[in-house]
């Protein structure tokens, strides 16, 4: 066989488990990575000759361990391992070994590998870069392109992150229940960061960032396969699926953000939405609400609506109210205000967000929403000030462009508004959502 394309998905999908097991053996990320790399190279020569092994992960772990031990032999007597020629055939040796590397080990191996990337001393971008490099196996070049920085800068960033985690003491024993739950929480947050890095970007490189969203979904599904009864991991997976389902509709041909209300919903991925709903149904049985589950439920309500006007805003309002109780935060209240503006009108929503002006004084979305609500109430001069502030705080050109569009609309509609105000007290036009 000359076409080796079939090997790549095998190596990619085996990577988190195999590398995780090698980290457990060597207790050193760099050594484990080198061993995995060498094992992958050997796979490229052995597998085409002998066919893929029954359990590629077990094969890679064994060969990797073998290679690593060979290189690290310091005169110490170690139990000899079978040569990789011996295990590359589909013989009994391999199936025995595969049984020994059972799922319960893999579970904690993968979790540990992911957890190493969430070291609290690492800033978010470094956590993301490390996870993409180490767990997902993306090349430095691929990651650098997604982050729009040079390859050497990304190389440096990853090297720095690695030296930080190398000094961190992540215990290698199987974690206890509480520790496992803590690790899961940290890892879920990191996966969400990876997704958001891909999701919040825009512009010409958007297609590169989509890959980050796909990697995040792959990681979430992997985690859920290993921990099938964890409600928050189900919630996280559903949330990512609902969000990513809109990917094709979120940007126009020029790379500008298309708001939820304006998206062509026929371009939403129905398979992902259905999978998200299936997970939400499953998780509801657990009756252990958590923030990912609630965010997924909110995204699910949006996904369910065939047209923007079909959105069940009172349900969304209820979900946000639950989220506020569970995890009080001004940003949650801000999001809830969008729902309140739909169910109770812009005045009620404005009253809800006015107390947040202090804490969210540097937050783009606060001024975006404030401007939109003020505009709906016909307070056009105040609206303009809020929109100007939002533009000043925008992180991306697309965000700024989006607010300018509101401003233009404001200018254009200003005259119409004034004449309309004479006849009708301001209950506003169609309120616009700021979540995209």
């Amino acid at each position: 066989m000359t076409d080796l394309a079939w090997i790549d998905p095998l190596l990619r999908s085996a990577r988190p488990q195999a590398l995780g097991a090698l980290v457990r053996y060597f207790r050193d990320l760099d050594r484990a990575e080198e061993a995995f790399q060498e094992a992958s190279l050997r796979a490229l020569t052995h597998w085409p000759q002998n066919g893929p092994p029954r359990d590629p992960t077990a094969w890679l772990v064994l060969v990797g361990r073998n290679v690593g031990l060979d290189e690290a032999r310091r005169g110490k007597k170690r139990e000899p391992l079978p040569g990789d020629e011996a295990i590359s055939d589909l013989d009994d040796a391999e199936s025995n070994i595969a049984e020994r590397l059972d799922n319960s080990h893999y579970r904690d191996d993968v979790l540990r590998l992911l957890f190493i990337c969430c070291h609290p001393d690492l800033p978010a971008v470094q956590q993301i870069a490390l996870a993409l490099r180490v767990v997902c196996g993306l090349t430095v070049k691929e990651i650098a392109r997604a982050f729009l920085i040079s390859e050497s800068a990304m190389e440096q960033r990853i090297t720095r992150a690695k030296s930080k985690v190398a000094n961190a003491d992540v215990p290698f024993e199987a974690p206890g229940a509480i520790e496992r739950a803590e690790r899961l929480g940290a890892v879920a947050a990191m996966i969400y960061l990876v997704f958001n890095e891909g999701y919040s970007a825009s512009g010409g490189e958007a297609h590169l960032r989509v890959a980050l969203c796909e990697e995040a979904i792959r990681l979430a599904r992997l985690l859920l396969t290993l921990f099938p009864a964890e409600p928050e991991i189900m919630g996280l997976t559903a949330l990512l699926l609902f969000q990513h389902a809109r990917a094709a509709a979120r940007f126009d041909a020029d790379g500008e953000i298309v708001l939820l209300d304006d998206q062509d919903r026929s371009r939403w991925d129905r398979d992902m939405i259905a999978e998200g709903h299936a997970l939400l149904e499953k998780v509801a049985r657990h009756r252990q609400p958590g923030s990912y589950q609630i965010q997924a439920a909110i995204a699910g309500v949006h996904a369910h609506a065939a047209r923007p006007q079909d959105t069940d805003w009172s349900e969304i309002d209820q979900h946000y109210a639950t989220l506020e109780r569970l995890q009080p935060s001004p940003v949650v209240t801000l999001n809830r205000a969008v729902a309140v503006s739909k169910t109770q009108g812009p005045a009620a929503a404005l009253a809800l967000i006015e107390p947040l002006a202090g804490v969210l004084g540097g937050y783009f979305h606060f001024f975006g929403l404030r401007g939109a609500l003020l505009a709906q109430l016909g307070r056009l001069d105040e609206a303009r000030i809020a929109f100007d502030r939002a533009i000043a705080l925008a992180h991306t050109p697309a965000e700024a462009a989006h607010i300018r569009m509101h401003l233009d609309r404001l200018m254009r509609d200003g005259e119409i508004w004034k004449s309309r105000q004479k006849n009708r007290a301001g209950d506003g036009g169609a309120p616009r959502s700021f979540s995209v």
């Binding site: 998905p9 999908s13 893929p52 796909e214 396969t225 009864a229 189900m234 999978e275 499953k282 049985r285």
Partner: protein, 120 residues
């Protein structure tokens, strides 16, 4: 004889396919199944959602409901076809044709009872 072709595959690999790769597999299979459909030999074909969406009900005095698939194995049941085949040999050839260039595993099982409309 009606045969069920149970499609078993390493789910981690299927999940790592890009949309384009996934579409390519479906298109390739479609070229075979459309011929079967034209000959009136193709019954329902089903693709299942990932096993992460699975729920298992284990009956007993107190039925237990578990999250996840029945068997936690690398190769999971991801879908199936029902195809009318003249013989087992014919079924095996059909499986080879559908799965050409893939790493999929087909379990071929003769169908005992088939109620397409669920009629009693």
């Amino acid at each position: 004889m009606l045969y069920a072709f149970l499609c078993c595959h390493d789910e981690a690999i299927v999940n790592s396919w890009t949309k384009e790769e996934d579409d390519a597999v479906l298109a390739k299979r479609h070229r075979v199944t459309e011929k079967l459909a034209a000959a009136g030999r193709l019954g329902p074909a089903v693709r299942l959602m990932p096993t992460t969406t699975a729920t298992t009900v284990r009956m007993g005095r107190d039925p237990v409901v578990l999250d996840g698939p029945f068997a936690e194995t690398k190769e999971a049941l991801l879908g199936f076809y029902l195809i009318d085949c003249g013989s087992l040999e014919d079924a095996i050839e059909t499986a080879k044709e559908i799965g050409r260039d893939e790493k999929v595993v087909f379990e071929i099982r003769p169908v005992k009872l088939f109620l397409p409309k669920g009629a009693a």
